[in-house]
């Protein structure tokens, strides 16, 4: 103790004892932060309109005499917008962190939670949960809309009870949550909006696709394990024949999240705010 007896002073002030930093508090705080920004509403609205709209557009313009059929394609047609709208939520996920750095609010945040890591976990949990709920609704709604529009074509008549369909739809939800969480971690690592969004779109989304154009055989063996690709398998109605099995797909999503959050956590602890 560093107490030193001194001359007369006012009696020491005792702060209120009922305010305590807690994990629940951090979650509630992140929830509040998320919904008190206009950009959250705008971006999520875009994601909803995009996923349902594009799914409906694609499904509604299928010519009646198209000779493609089956549950796999029906789900693929319906989800074309969902996959693209994952970019919206990934960007929003990035901004939940980089926005704090660019505006300086990170200093308030980290002064309130000086151990820092709780902030990262809370951001990931809150945003991941919001995306999970929103996209569960969107994925199933889009599926039903699309099936209604596809009625009478070869792609119609697919139901949730069909083998693998429900699993594939939840697979889309899981993929989007996974990509969102990955984006949040990238934001935490790079701390810069433009850099993080560029990295996410360039390195996570586009690079693995470009790499398949390369002439070397080993590239083809590796790309399925790229962070942006490992979640593909679980979105198939029939995942047989994919480079990764369903179990491997889950495993690799876990591995990449651990790597990303491990790095983000270490850097968050080590760097100055």
């Amino acid at each position: 103790m560093t107490a030193a007896a001194m001359t007369e002073r006012p009696a020491a002030y005792a702060p209120p004892a009922n305010y305590k930093l807690s994990a629940t508090g951090l979650l509630r705080s992140e929830w509040t932060k998320l919904w008190t920004l206009r950009s959250t509403w705008i971006v999520l609205l875009c994601a909803v309109v995009f996923s349902a709209g594009l799914g409906a557009l694609v499904s509604g313009t299928v010519p009646a005499d198209l000779e493609i059929g089956g549950a796999e394609n029906a789900v693929g047609f319906a989800m074309s917008g969902v996959a693209l709208s994952s970019v919206f939520v990934a960007v929003l996920g990035i901004l939940t962190i980089t926005g704090e750095y660019s505006t300086g609010s990170i200093r308030s945040t980290m002064s309130a939670a000086p151990k820092r890591l709780g902030v990262l976990w809370s951001k990931a949990v809150v945003f991941g949960a919001v995306v999970a709920v929103l996209f569960t609704v969107m994925v199933f709604a889009t599926f039903f809309i699309s099936q209604a529009l596809l009625d009478g074509t070869e792609l119609g008549g697919v139901s949730l009870g069909d083998e693998g369909v429900t699993r594939a739809l939840f697979g889309y939800v899981a993929m989007i949550v996974y990509l969102t969480l990955l984006a949040v971690a990238i934001g935490a690592i790079l701390r810069n909006s433009a850099g993080s969004i560029g990295f996410y779109i360039g390195v996570i989304m586009i690079l693995p696709q470009l790499a398949t154009l390369l002439p070397w055989g080993w590239v083809e063996d590796v790309t399925p394990y790229a962070p942006g690709n490992v979640s593909n398998t679980i979105t198939y109605v029939d995942p047989a024949g994919q480079a990764l099995g369903v179990g491997e797909s889950w495993l690799w999503m876990g591995i990449w999240l651990v790597v990303a959050y491990g790095l983000a956590g270490v850097l968050l602890k080590r760097r100055d705010v």
Partner: protein
């Protein structure tokens, strides 16, 4: 721990021990050691770039020291169960998301500690932001931003307040208001530590001063001692025997000027000595007064070397 009522024990609330912080090659804070006590307002003074903000960020754990440590109430800031109730900080740089309203910014911070909405409203009223609390912070003036920062600092009703240049951007009424507020908070036994690069801002608020320049400690003293120690205080004497008095006063370290006949301005000694010398030789005095240099003078004198050093080195590296 905190000495409760009755016991006249005072804890050192902020403890800076051999604190050094480097950013790459730039040394922002250089082996700084000082303590801040509760119950009084302590001013943290130094020219721009002296390392005040860096020291304050280190206290709340935002910047990790290169070496040495900064402790609050005997602990590292991150060890506290309720950081916002231990230390309330207003940092120099903007610390608010421009797209959020003042109320929601405070609310988000309050939630981390389970601080009720009532308290959020309380601090909004206290800093006089009720009319704009629902507006986006991006449109705030500098002064409104400072008031919000003060509201944030007060949110957890903390034992220690750390305010980095809080007066910046406040109008004269605001300056007066903050002065009264801070003195009141200190009188409740809290620790109030506020920085400024202007002596005049601290002169009427602070009782104690920590002065730094170039990241190094220049003075750690009461405001009164600071002035008498560093200001060019002079003794002004009016005497019909001025010439003879001057002869008797003359000595090493003492300089005597006579701006007009019968008037002496003596520096390097004290009024008491002048009076005694006059009495010892039976000389008549009509007036004997100590002219204190201004706080600003004292500060300028103390930091002159540091500033000069900086200018020459900066010039050399260009």
């Amino acid at each position: 721990m905190n000495g409760r009522s009755g016991r006249r024990t005072v804890v050192i609330m902020i403890e800076i021990e051999h604190l050094t912080k480097r950013y790459g090659k730039k040394t922002a804070v250089d082996d700084l050691t000082f303590n801040v006590k509760p119950g009084v307002v302590t001013g943290f003074l130094g020219p721009n770039g002296a390392g005040k903000s860096t020291t304050m960020r280190a206290i709340v754990g935002l910047d990790a020291p290169t070496s040495g440590l900064a402790r609050v109430n005997g602990k590292h800031y991150s060890e506290f169960q309720s950081p916002l109730s231990e230390v309330g900080a207003l940092l120099e740089a903007k610390s608010v998301h421009a797209g959020r309203s003042a109320h929601n910014h405070l609310l988000a911070l309050a939630r981390t500690h389970g601080i009720p909405k009532r308290r959020v409203q309380e601090v909004i009223d206290l800093v006089g932001l009720h009319e704009v609390a629902g507006k986006r912070v991006g449109g705030f003036s500098l002064g409104m931003g400072q008031r919000l920062g003060i509201a944030v600092a007060l949110l957890g009703d903390p034992a220690v307040l750390i305010l980095d240049e809080p007066v910046n951007g406040l109008d004269p009424d605001g300056v007066k208001w903050i002065r009264v507020l801070l003195k009141g908070l200190a009188a409740e036994g809290r620790t109030v530590f506020l920085s400024s690069h202007l002596m005049s801002e601290l002169a009427q608020t602070a009782e104690h001063l920590v002065v730094i320049g170039q990241g190094r400690l220049l003075a750690d003293t009461t405001v009164d001692d600071f002035v008498s120690g560093n200001g060019k205080s002079r003794v002004r004497v009016v005497s019909p025997d001025a010439a003879r008095l001057a002869e008797h006063l003359a000595g090493p370290g003492i300089s005597i000027a006579s701006p007009e006949k019968g008037v002496l301005e003596v520096s390097g000694t004290e009024a008491a000595v002048v009076g005694q010398t006059a009495a010892a030789h039976g000389l008549v005095l009509h007036e004997l007064r100590t002219d204190r240099g201004s706080l600003e003078d004292a500060f300028m004198q103390l930091t002159a070397d540091a500033v000069e050093y900086r200018q020459t080195t900066e010039g050399a590296t260009r």
